[in-house]
């Protein structure tokens, strides 16, 4: 018991010294579990995050927009793979993680349960959803678990194009015809609140945050990150001549931050529980893709086995 305590104290000291924890290092079981849950949820979010945008690839308004959107969605697949690999360094099994996503047991970011009815949503997702994700991911580049931090560095490098292409789409619409500007405003109206909910419950309602902060898995609180994102985004909306749908949004001279209105947490928890507009559709799409890809996995297995057998025969013959 005391030995266990010592290990935990030593671990905390090590982390407090800004040292990175690596896969084979001793770590508290709860640290490992928390990370597996967080990293795999992050991976699932990248994978499910492809779906709302995939909806528009074939209908992108120009070739330039289409190749950008394709590249972005391809990046998201790649980001999912980096993250699953990081989770595996903690002893998680890839197939178990995927199975948990497909059965609905595992969570992913609720934002992807909102629909994308117009092209302007591609702009809003890149600008706001990726913007919020970047705020979180920049912080995670300094997370205490080495493989997670390294995956985040790689992801952040690739992600900044995502936000810029989204802002460009929104800007083109905002500076276009009145009908186009209306599309951009409508998308902002629908994505604003879900985007600022992406940072999770407010600090006083986020029971696991304290431990994650102590272990330096998280480096900033949900509310800090949310505030950072809002402060950055408001001037970007003003530049476009678009209005953020929050009547309480106001610059606060004293704090040097924007005040913002009450978040509808009931909606947040409702979508997490599975009652968002697209929860069912997203899981169905993932399951369909997985099932329809079964033959590819089987063929790859059969081919690998055949090659291995052939190689064995050759060495025997020689």
């Amino acid at each position: 018991m005391t030995k266990e305590m010592n290990l935990e104290d030593r671990f905390q000291n090590y982390v407090d010294g800004e040292n990175k924890v690596e896969p084979k290092d001793w770590m508290p079981e709860k640290y490992r579990k928390t990370l597996i849950r967080q990293i795999s949820q992050h991976a699932h979010s990248e994978v499910v995050g492809m779906l709302p945008e995939a909806n528009w690839i074939t209908r992108a308004p120009s070739l330039r927009r289409k190749i950008a959107l394709l590249a972005k969605v391809q990046d998201e697949a790649g980001h999912g793979l980096y993250l699953y690999s990081a989770a595996e360094t903690l002893g998680a099994d890839r197939q178990d993680l995927v199975a948990d996503l497909l059965s609905g047991k595992a969570k992913y970011s609720s934002i992807f349960n909102y629909p994308t009815p117009t092209w302007a949503d591609m702009g809003a997702i890149g600008w706001l959803v990726d913007g919020a994700a970047i705020a979180n991911q920049v912080m995670l580049c300094r997370t205490s678990y080495g493989p997670y931090a390294r995956a985040m560095v790689r992801i952040c490098k690739e992600e900044s194009f995502h936000q810029r292409q989204g802002y460009e789409i929104t800007m083109t619409l905002a500076k276009g015809t009145p009908a186009q500007k209306k599309l951009a405003q409508d998308a902002l109206n629908r994505w604003w609140w879900p985007s600022i909910m992406m940072f999770g419950p407010s600090d006083d309602n986020s029971p696991n945050s304290a431990q994650s902060m102590q272990w330096k898995i998280k480096r900033k609180s949900n509310d800090e990150l949310r505030q950072e994102f809002i402060d950055k985004t408001v001037p970007q909306a003003e530049y476009l001549g678009l209005t953020i749908p929050d009547p309480d949004l106001k610059w606060n001279e004293e704090t040097g931050h924007y005040n913002y209105g009450e978040i509808d947490w009931e909606e947040f928890y409702n979508v997490i529980k599975g009652n968002g507009k697209c929860n069912k559709q997203r899981l169905e799409a993932r399951n369909k893709a997985h099932d329809e890809g079964a033959w590819v996995r089987e063929a790859a297995n059969a081919y690998a086995e055949k090659q291995a057998a052939r190689k064995k025969n050759e060495t025997h013959a020689a």
Binding site: H290, A294, E298, Y303
Partner: protein, 96 residues
């Protein structure tokens, strides 16, 4: 899913330019080495990050134990005489 597949984990190393050594960039799943190279190309070189890829089955890596890092690595810490700056050479001699 009908069967558990037997895809191994592979460690991926990329040479970014001619003359530089291969550097570890991450890992991935693949049924065999050939597929691992193909997957690595898609996952790790989407932005011209490399001109050569190595893949190695993760279970083929033998690593030093973190518990042994002190006896393994600290003996080198107090051997400053292994570095050129330990030796005093007069300025008149120029670069040596």
């Amino acid at each position: 899913m009908s069967t558990k597949d037997n895809w191994k984990i592979w460690e991926v190393f990329i040479r970014s330019r001619n003359g530089l050594s291969h550097k570890h960039v991450g890992s991935l799943h693949a049924p065999d080495a050939e597929m691992a190279i193909k997957n690595a190309r898609d996952v790790y070189t989407r932005r011209s990050e490399g001109i050569s890829i190595w893949v190695i089955p993760s279970d083929a890596v033998t690593a030093s134990s973190p518990d042994e890092s002190e006896p393994l690595f600290t003996p080198a810490d107090d051997k400053v005489y292994r570095h050129p700056t330990f030796y005093e050479i007069p300025d008149e001699i120029g670069h040596m």
